[in-house]
Symmetry: C2
Subunit: 302 residues, 2 copies
């Protein structure tokens, strides 16, 4: 924990991250953004030959799709729903009076049709399902968006609003597990190019509550989730900077994603935690980008 | 309205925008994003010599700052607050039961410390105030973020989640009004370079309710807000694609933004509605970027 606070403080002092008064909610300097942009260009170089379709969703998604996704079953504590004032003049007077008196005015906010996106790929599945059957050669999508997770923390690598770059593959079991393996290999290679020590390990999602422990054990037993780990604030507790997820046909069945032969599509996704990767670079190579190793600078900025 | 729906349908058909089932919430194609990135580079070319400090905030802001901003006084209907589940195992069971039965489970969500950012500059003022007095030569900041406004609409130019690029100037009255005039001139010049017909007109914000009409009239009478208007879905009702706002010393006084001589800072901001500008380009030059006029393509992609 001390190393986490220490890195966060150094990031604030250097101006790379900017305090907002809320743990896990930070502004970014131009330099921080430039590192993320450079790393994304590296992702593009590794991924571009695959011909993925680029789609960029905003940081919120259709509430109906969010509900159907099952996120509230697995991670209710992390989700964010968007609420608004839906009253008239008179209600507005009451709202302002409540605010003036320091009362909880937010209780009168009504939920909208929008939930914050918990992972970049969540809005994709219903979008692709609406297009009809997926070609037997599979579908490949390139996503990036701000995501929200309600987990205030002093660990700079655990932010409430952060960007996730993702590739999602839909197709046969063979196709999507090959895709996942390809990106595990690429992930290791990319991180080596930017001078970061990594290891890949089996992992599980932070499923909620007692029932969640069963889900987590099941996920591990079936090798469904791997993470690429890098020391950021601790060498003992490394930070997951990429994840590699095989959903079997669970998302295909849920969203009616079918292949042209009528079978249910299998899906897999690989995600880059862009802020975490930038933080790993700063933690490892120092806060002054001009002093990073030449090879790393060359990889990122040519 | 018909022209709005018609443009939206054509954008869906071409794949430039992607339906999500919620009005005003859309995915963007790679091509759409490429137009926005190209236009932002044009903004950079016009603005870079000024040496603005680049800061990128996430799409949410500190709720305490949001409350202090007065946004709920002026635009309560547009605001979005972020709510989360804060219960334990037992509450989770009730939540899932409520969802299964089709009840309103969102009533149990509790407001978090985060509100969605209504305009890119809202998180900036308290951030700069914390740094202490502003140099007499003024402060200049370059911002961009996703913003939220709860106004579902079939007009593709009125989205609930959209990106705003902004420059914000803090300094003397003379300094910040000069800044605003410079960007009005630049805005006209930039839009001419990308082949768009524009006019600049005095404007007012959509203040809420009966009391809001007074605020709107006051804003117009004092020439505090100008907009750069471009025909997107209608030549009669043009779309505001940029706005130029002079806040006098209102934000300076609210946020304790002082100049080095102890006087309260005046502030002004210029905002680019990035989706609106992209839509203006598609509406005017056609949905196929390859067929845009050579001069426009050259300005945007060199």
């Amino acid at each position: 924990m001390d190393m986490q606070v220490s890195l966060l403080d150094r990031l604030f002092e250097s101006g790379l991250l900017i305090e907002t008064g809320v743990d896990g909610l930070y502004g970014r300097s131009g330099q921080f953004e430039d590192v993320i942009a450079a790393f994304e260009r590296l992702v593009d170089r590794f991924g571009s030959a695959d011909g993925a379709e680029a789609i960029r969703f905003p940081p919120g998604m259709n509430m109906a799709y969010f509900e159907k996704s099952g996120y509230m079953k697995s991670f209710p504590q992390l989700a964010g729903t968007v609420h608004s004032f839906c009253g008239h003049d008179h209600d507005h007077m009451s709202l302002l009076k409540c605010m003036e008196e320091g009362g909880d005015w937010t209780k009168e906010q009504k939920s909208t049709d929008i939930a914050l996106t918990p992972a970049a790929c969540y809005p994709l599945y219903p979008t692709i399902a609406k297009r009809g059957p997926i070609a037997m050669t599979g579908g490949l999508y390139d996503l990036q968006s701000y995501c929200f997770r309600h987990e205030p923390s002093k660990d700079p690598a655990r932010q409430q609003m952060f960007r996730m770059r993702e590739y999602v593959c839909m197709g046969t079991e063979h196709h999507v597990t090959e895709f996942r393996q390809t990106w595990m290999d690429r992930g290791v290679e990319m991180m080596k190019l930017v001078g970061l020590d990594v290891e890949i390990d089996i992992a599980n999602d932070p499923f909620f509550g007692r029932a969640g422990r069963l889900l987590a054990n099941n996920q591990r037993d079936q090798n469904l989730k791997f993470e690429l780990l890098i020391p950021v604030t601790s060498t003992a507790n490394k930070t997951a900077c990429m994840s590699f997820n095989y959903h079997q046909d669970a998302f295909g069945a849920k969203w009616d994603l079918n292949l042209e032969d009528g079978s249910v599509a299998h899906t897999a996704c690989v995600g880059f935690g862009l802020e975490r990767i930038a933080l790993a670079l700063f933690a490892h190579h120092g806060l002054d980008v001009a002093l990073w190793p030449d090879a790393v600078r060359k990889t990122l900025w040519g």
